[in-house]
Amino acid sequence: MTAPVAYLDYNASAPLLPEAAAAMTATFALAGNPSSVHRAGRAARAVIEDAREAVAALVKVTPAQVVFTSGATEANGLALAAGPVTAAAVEHPSVLAWAEAATIPVDADGIVDLPALENRLREFPPAVVALMLANNETGVLQPVTDAAGLAHGVGARLHCDAVQGPGRVLVNFQALGADTMSLSAHKFGGPKGVGALILRPGLELSALVKGGGQERRRRAGTENLAGIAGFGAAAKIAVTALDNAHRIAALRDVLEARIADQVPQARVLGQGVARLGNTSCIVLPGVPAETQLMRLDLANVQVSAGSACSSGKIAASHVLTAMGASEADAKCAIRVSFGPGSTVADIDAFFSAWLPLALTAAA
């Protein structure tokens, strides 16, 4: 009786890859503390260093540049805590939490306004400029390399929140020109609760989590061994996942073509600019995202909207209002995000649950 589950929320979290699960399970047999000198300690330490190499390879850096954290939120904090921070208006809350109130605006497609950034930097040079690689709600790609050039021009660092990148687009830390970059394992098949900050060689940051000497004194505390092992395993897969990205983008385009064909009043944000191939941010005017999400979920179709408070209440997305969407439209936007496990059947399931809502609203 229950409809098959269509999971279309990869930007929130991707299902754990079996390879990651296996790597994590293997660590449960390891008794040692990775900081211990003895054989058991060394065995645990080896798991962490293997994973560090895999994560380094994923973003084309050396292992010494990788600092494991509890996730991208902590990695963003580690990179930004020293401040002051100038950030784009569409950054994730874990970046905006450290940023100056005056953020850099974006255009209607969600791309940061580089001349505005340049003016701001000239007037109020910060210590760090934060610009994400790809927006989590729209998938829109940002001109990180250009922004890095502007930041460096005023002696500021460039921090890039790149959590939505791996497995979807090529992420080359050095080519981006960033000084720091955050990653999150669970966005591409690793476990939740583990991430990393990538540092430019030679850059030293003071630890947020203080105590022992783990992670070269940049992050104290006994390492999340299972999480890091899973992160490493997922990173190895993500390196080769780009082949799949074309298939995923084609699926996403099928969805958007069907929407354009049958629900002309709906709009896809950022559709005309470079964006992740897996993400579709759809505004259905007049139907609150709250209603869309509930209806879809009751039909076993799982998508996201805006930024949910811990209560589950959905606020109008700051990303969409920054793009110039009205408060009303911003409250009517949902995000559909695909991944390696997505199929045409998922689109069919989405459509059969969503189309009646759209048609009722149009009537």
Binding site: E290, L293, M294, S310, S311, G312, I314
Partner: protein, 390 residues
């Protein structure tokens, strides 16, 4: 009739979608658990009504109160879908602002009725229908019984728990769609059922105060919204003597005896009348509180016969939730207005409270008590009342 399921639908429970309004408290949790146990397609909705952090001036706390978490945990345990719907804007306009405005007018409002009337039975109704529900269930202690003319609203079997007073404004159309699974149960039975069904809030105390005034200091809430309610004024005796001063009409309710700060009189003094225009609070002996007639607005009629006309309809009524029912006659004046003439004078007819009509256990409707009861001439109506009773 035997083909109908317990919610009154001619289909199996599994094909009957019931949206349950879950507050996070014991009662609605048990209602949800009962319906889930009986095999219904149950969906829980919890209303986000106000920012708990802002309400308690602790802005750093999250927007969600403990009750939302409790509701979610109950739904998790039952294994039913659960969502939070955001009615902060409409709750502010339709309940909190109206609550404050009512105090400014010198009334003593009943925000729970305003809430049932608006966010619950208008907005939540719509949400339930949007989700394809066959009915909306709540944890109210009130009964919906099928009568010859359709569903009727009746008092709960547990008189100590009866919430029918708060639901007088339920319209016939709303009554068609709503269900009250607890109305036929005693409170201890509900708690026991909660334990049996594994509802972990079963030992939680009942909520008491006005939900958006969690610290019970309603006057502070009103003052923040409507500073004019805190205008200082005089405390005046009905005989014209000035008795003292006060810090705003917000602090008074008709019938109030404590906290007046006046003494030395032969008999105790009560608040008889509140005059917000001049910020005067009029006090007097108990006899001065007696009212025979008063006006109603926003009248809702749920009887089988036509709504009361100018000829009057004799009913029993409650003037407060905890009031012992009294008898009187309702004279309809059209457009939701009516006048009530009581069989016997009654003390403390409080503007802003509801006057709810009953016939036995059945709710026949009710209306809001308007200001100015004592100042209205009732002689004409008294004559008509006598005629109606003859």
């Amino acid at each position: 009739m035997s083909d109908l399921n317990s919610m009154g639908f001619a289909k199996p429970p599994s094909a009957t979608r019931i949206v349950v309004a879950m507050s996070g408290g014991v009662d609605s949790s048990v209602a949800a658990a009962m319906l889930a146990r009986d095999g219904y397609d149950v969906v829980g909705l919890t209303m986000q009504l106000y920012d708990v952090g802002a309400a308690t001036a602790k802005s750093k706390t999250c927007c969600a109160g403990q009750d939302i978490y409790d509701a979610r945990r109950v739904a998790d345990r039952i294994g039913m879908p659960h969502y939070v719907v955001d009615y902060e804007t409409t709750f502010k306009a339709d309940v909190i602002d109206r609550f404050a405005d009512s105090y400014v007018r010198g009334e003593t409002p009943v925000p729970c009725i305003m809430c049932n009337q608006t966010v619950k039975f208008r907005d939540l109704f719509k949400a339930a229908k949007d989700l394809g529900a066959d009915a909306l269930a709540t944890g109210h202690y009130v009964q919906r019984l099928m009568g010859s003319q359709g569903p009727e609203l009746h008092r709960a079997v547990d008189p100590a728990r009866d919430q029918s007073y708060f639901l007088f404004a339920t319209t016939r159309a709303q009554l068609e769609f709503v269900r009250f699974p607890l109305g036929g149960l005693e409170k201890p039975a509900v708690r026991a059922l909660g334990e049996e069904l594994g509802v972990h809030v079963a030992a939680k105390p009942d909520s008491q105060d006005i939900c958006f005034v969690p610290d019970g200091r309603y006057a502070e809430t009103v003052k923040r919204l409507r500073p004019e309610a805190a205008r200082k004024g005089d405390l005046v005796h009905v005989d014209g003597r000035k008795m003292g001063a006060h810090d705003g009409v917000i602090h008074f309710t008709v019938g109030q005896r404590k906290g007046l700060g006046v003494g030395g009189e032969a008999e105790p003094l009560y608040v008889v009348r509140i005059e917000p225009e001049t910020a005067r609070v009029v006090v007097g002996p108990k006899a001065a509180l007696l009212e025979r007639g008063f006006a109603l607005h926003g009248v809702n009629w749920l009887g089988d016969d036509a709504a009361p006309s100018g000829d009057g309809r004799h009913v029993i009524m409650k003037l407060r939730n905890t009031h012992t029912p009294i008898a009187g006659t309702v004279f309809g004046e059209g457009a939701g207005a009516a006048r009530v003439v009581l069989d016997q004078p009654e003390a403390a007819v409080t503007p802003g409270q509801a006057c709810v009509f009953y016939e036995g256990a059945r709710v026949l409707g009710g209306g809001w008590i308007a200001r100015g009861g004592a100042s209205q001439p009732v002689s004409l109506n008294l004559k008509r009342s006598a005629a109606a009773n003859a």
